[in-house]
């Protein structure tokens, strides 16, 4: 026993006893969903982070085994709900590849425009939420002002503002809304005039910079080893954009740059996403006036049967590489389906990135990983 008046001479072992385990989540404002992190702390320093998942696990892979190839696509919108069009696209591409279905050019153009609009909307939401995690409230309203225009476009054309189901095997569910092109152009004009506000408000903000620069560093080798993809890996200097490496739909016809930063810290991940929004605008601008006339859906059979074998497609969602792996036995339902979700792999690097840093920096590291929990749990 140490008396309070006594001077503690040996301070070397204090740290070991002062270890503290904190449960962050499942309900926590900064996890944006039900993610449970068990954080082991030594004072303010993080020693270990253990994610506990499954609070919203819906067993989508098992569910899909009893759904037909037309039905299972709708479930995938509920995985990464901020990239629902791109999830649908990944599944549709797989079925089209497996059954050799011809997709009309018109559908391909609209699919890419919608994918890029989804990407912008997802990054806008991330920007607002992440800035709010770090204590800045205003960017949230700025980001949602632009995002609102995209959700309006989606509402007109796809009939829903979130969890859209519009892309089907063979093309699109129905033709685009007559106002689609007009509204997208209005959005581009609005976005271009307002994107500089983000620079002034967030990028050049001294507090934001000092909270994100040098925080949560991930090296290129580690990013590959942990299977990180998307903006997380590109901020570490890994070239991994599926749209560039394995172009699908009309991505090989449009000009855009793969955004790569080399610092690997939270600020680099922020910069990649902001620059990616501008690249998405560039893609949409090249396509919006050139949507070819014609059918919006190709000829497909009523009952889809994937031939016996294994199929794999990958698409670039807002979070990274989504892989769809289907083992078919030739029937109307898949034998086994696996979704390689980007969030799951990105989360696995969190312990490595945050260990050794202060608990206050965890918000910046986790915020820039852009975790969507239904995507991780599936």
């Amino acid at each position: 026993m140490i008396q309070e008046t006594e001077i503690i001479k040996d301070t070397t072992h204090l740290g070991d006893e002062g270890e503290l385990v904190v449960n962050m989540g499942p309900q926590h404002p900064a996890t944006h969903g039900v993610l449970h992190l068990v954080v082991t702390l030594n004072g303010e320093t993080i020693k270990k982070i253990e994610p506990h998942l499954g609070y919203i696990h819906r067993s989508i892979e098992k569910m899909c085994e009893s759904l037909t190839y037309r039905q299972f696509i709708y479930v995938t919108s509920r995985m990464d709900y901020l990239s629902s069009h791109i999830n649908n696209l990944g599944c549709a591409l797989l079925i089209e590849k497996g059954m050799q279905i011809e997709v009309p050019e018109r559908a391909k153009y609209v699919r890419v425009i919608l994918s890029e609009l989804t990407r912008i909307a997802s990054h806008e939401l991330w920007l607002g939420a992440m800035a709010m995690d770090l204590g800045a409230f205003t960017p949230f309203f700025y980001a949602f002002r632009e995002r609102e225009m995209i959700t309006d476009i989606m509402e007109d054309t796809c009939g829903a503002r979130l969890t859209m189901n519009y892309i089907v095997p063979g093309g699109l569910m129905y033709d685009i809304h007559p106002d689609f092109q007009k509204k997208v152009k209005a959005f581009i004009t609005q976005f271009k005039s307002k994107v500089t506000e983000y620079e002034d408000l967030v990028t050049n903000n001294v507090i934001f910079q000092s909270r994100t620069k040098g925080v949560g560093i991930l090296s290129a080798e580690d990013a590959i080893s942990y299977g990180c993809t998307g903006p997380v890996a590109r901020a570490s200097g890994v070239s991994c954009d599926i749209r560039k490496l394995f172009p699908y739909e009309v991505y090989d016809k449009v000009e855009f740059d793969e955004v790569i930063e080399t610092a690997g810290d939270s600020f680099a991940r922020y910069m990649v996403r902001v620059k990616e929004m501008n690249q998405s605008i560039r893609i949409i601008e090249q396509l919006i006036d050139n949507i070819p006339e014609g059918d919006f859906v190709g000829k497909t059979k009523n009952v889809l049967k994937l031939p016996k074998g294994e199929f794999y497609t990958r698409v670039e969602t807002a979070r990274g590489e989504l892989g769809v792996y289907i083992v078919s036995e030739g029937g109307t339902t898949p034998h086994r389906i696996k979704f390689r979700s980007p969030g799951f792999s990105n989360l696995s690097a969190l312990n490595h990135m945050a260990a050794g840093s202060k608990i206050g920096d965890l918000m910046a590291t986790m915020g820039t990983l852009d975790l969507v929990i239904p995507d991780i749990d599936r």
Binding site: L53, F311, K338, S345
Partner: protein, 150 residues
């Protein structure tokens, strides 16, 4: 790297491996005991397979098949490695020391299919609760309360 070069490289390491080129990518069928030897060679050799992008398991009712999708960020080609496991006592060596992403993916396969990964640093349930019985993604899994059969 061409498929021929990869095949040559693998045959030099594992003469008994069999190949299948009917699918999109080169498939390599091996015995579960050979996995670690092949994985180390693929990672360190000229193939430089530094990116494990998908790790999963398929239940064939008679046996389980572990499916590994490897890719190289240098050569940009992908291969698939498969190993059949005994359904009653499935066990295979972990790859989490070679590719760190395998740690989480293997934990998922462990709880969903019941595959034991030897030498895994932290083989616990990740998604399901600790008391959960059975392996949900196996074909013979029954749950009369939560499963609706179509």
């Amino acid at each position: 790297m061409t498929n021929e070069a990869i095949k040559e490289f693998i045959t030099a390491t594992l003469p008994s491996a069999s190949f299948d080129e009917t699918g999109e990518w080169l498939n390599i069928q091996i015995e579960p005991t050979q996995l670690l030897t092949l994985a180390k060679a693929l990672r360190e050799g000229e193939t430089n397979m530094n990116y494990l992008f998908c790790l999963t398991c398929v239940d064939w009712k008679t046996h389980l098949t572990m499916v590994y999708h490897f890719s190289s960020t240098q050569h940009r080609n992908s291969i698939v490695v498969k190993a059949n496991l005994d359904r009653n006592q499935p066990s295979i060596e972990t790859l989490s020391f070679i590719w760190r992403t395998a740690e989480f993916h293997e934990r998922e396969v462990f709880e969903m299919f019941g595959v034991q990964f030897e030498n895994h640093p932290d083989l616990r349930k990740l998604i399901l609760e600790d008391e959960f019985k059975g392996f949900p993604l196996r074909k013979d899994f029954e749950d009369p309360i939560n499963m609706i059969k179509l």
